[in-house]
Symmetry: C2
Subunit: 220 residues, 2 copies
């Protein structure tokens, strides 16, 4: 259950429209996730700097460790939205890009998954790196079936076919939830949570389509 | 009651001894305040950037608003330590400066004051600006008696007499607690809390020795 969000904001010009826009966006985003911006700090800084901390409480927190051999590996929503948005920004289509960026944090889905998931992490650092983190913390491996990855329409339309796999596996900032769940519990997950089964928990090693998946992260 | 501290750390060189030193200092400081560094983030950044968030819970939080006309104005510990330390750093006396900087956060004192204080703030932005913030939020004024200000030995020894008043009133980062308390409650404050009465809550205006005190803040 979210309790509140803190945002620290640094910029050379704190009076700028940019800072104001970010602040209004943050307030709206918190509201969309059923919480509020409750505090933080502003300071002059050489480069635009944003640090947010979200505080919540949980009776039974789902951690990065906890995945068990035989569990299903799943991801919420679909992938590549942010990488598609970055290309739209680069191409100057700001309206379409903004729309892809304005998604709601997966707080509600996370809460609904919590009773069933054995481990969970967001994929802001990219799917591949997040898989490695979860595997390492849980002391297990993953076998991912690439054709099962839920590719967003934005990604199939906006990213050249030759670059799509790279964007989906190694692109970051999608903020979907990667989680593991015992196979017998999958049917119990509320249908309002949109997710895909993308593989299995194995003894060791992170593999995709039978090949080792490099632990390549996404630099924010 | 402190629950935990989050620290986000950005620097051009995350592998440097500087970053490691800061991290170890933060861990020790949290321990000294009866809490722990429970999370955060690291990232490459053009300039050294530190953002910390401390999370706690309180049955009856003491806010910035709440000061009442007739309350006593008080401050914990003594003043000018940080400004004296900065002069020692500038003069190259790192050992002495480090010692002045290595003080424990006033968490324990804050907890002991909470049942009695009507308003409270830390003075990291400087005493003058903190007085203005507290007065504004509480809708009152303050009359400060300058001879009552608890000047630290470090400040009287390390800051030229002509610059001492400026350092005490407008220098920042001392992280002592400025609070108001009904006069009849002063005797009930546990003697383990070291504090000084420095003035009175009035109807309006922030004054020191009968003169308006400028709202000059301290830029971190």
């Amino acid at each position: 259950r979210p309790l509140g969000v803190l945002l620290a904001l640094g910029d050379p010009d704190l009076e700028s429209g940019l800072v104001n826009g970010i602040l209004h966006g943050a307030i709206a985003c918190c509201a969309s996730a059923g919480t509020a911006l409750v505090g933080g700090d502003t300071d002059r800084h050489q480069e635009l700097t944003l640090v947010s901390s979200a505080v919540g409480e949980a009776a039974r927190p789902v951690r990065r460790r906890g995945a068990r051999v035989g569990d299903a590996v799943c991801v919420t929503g679909d992938l590549g939205r942010t990488q598609a948005a970055l290309r739209l920004y680069a191409a100057g289509d700001l309206a379409a890009a903004d729309e892809l960026f304005a998604f709601s944090p997966r707080v509600e889905w996370g809460l609904r998954l919590a009773p069933y998931a054995t481990s969970m992490i967001d994929i802001s650092d990219g799917l591949a790196h997040s898989l490695h983190l979860l595997a390492q913390e849980s002391g297990v491996g993953f076998e991912i079936d690439e054709p099962l990855l839920p590719v967003s329409t934005a990604a199939t339309q906006g990213i050249p076919r030759a670059e799509l796999r790279e964007a989906i596996l190694f692109g970051g900032e999608d903020y979907e939830l990667l989680f593991t769940v015992p196979k017998e519990a999958i049917a119990a997950i509320p249908p309002t949570v949109r997710f895909s089964v993308i593989g299995n928990v194995t003894e060791a090693g992170v593999r995709a389509n039978g090949h080792a998946l490099p632990d390549t992260g996404y630099e924010h």
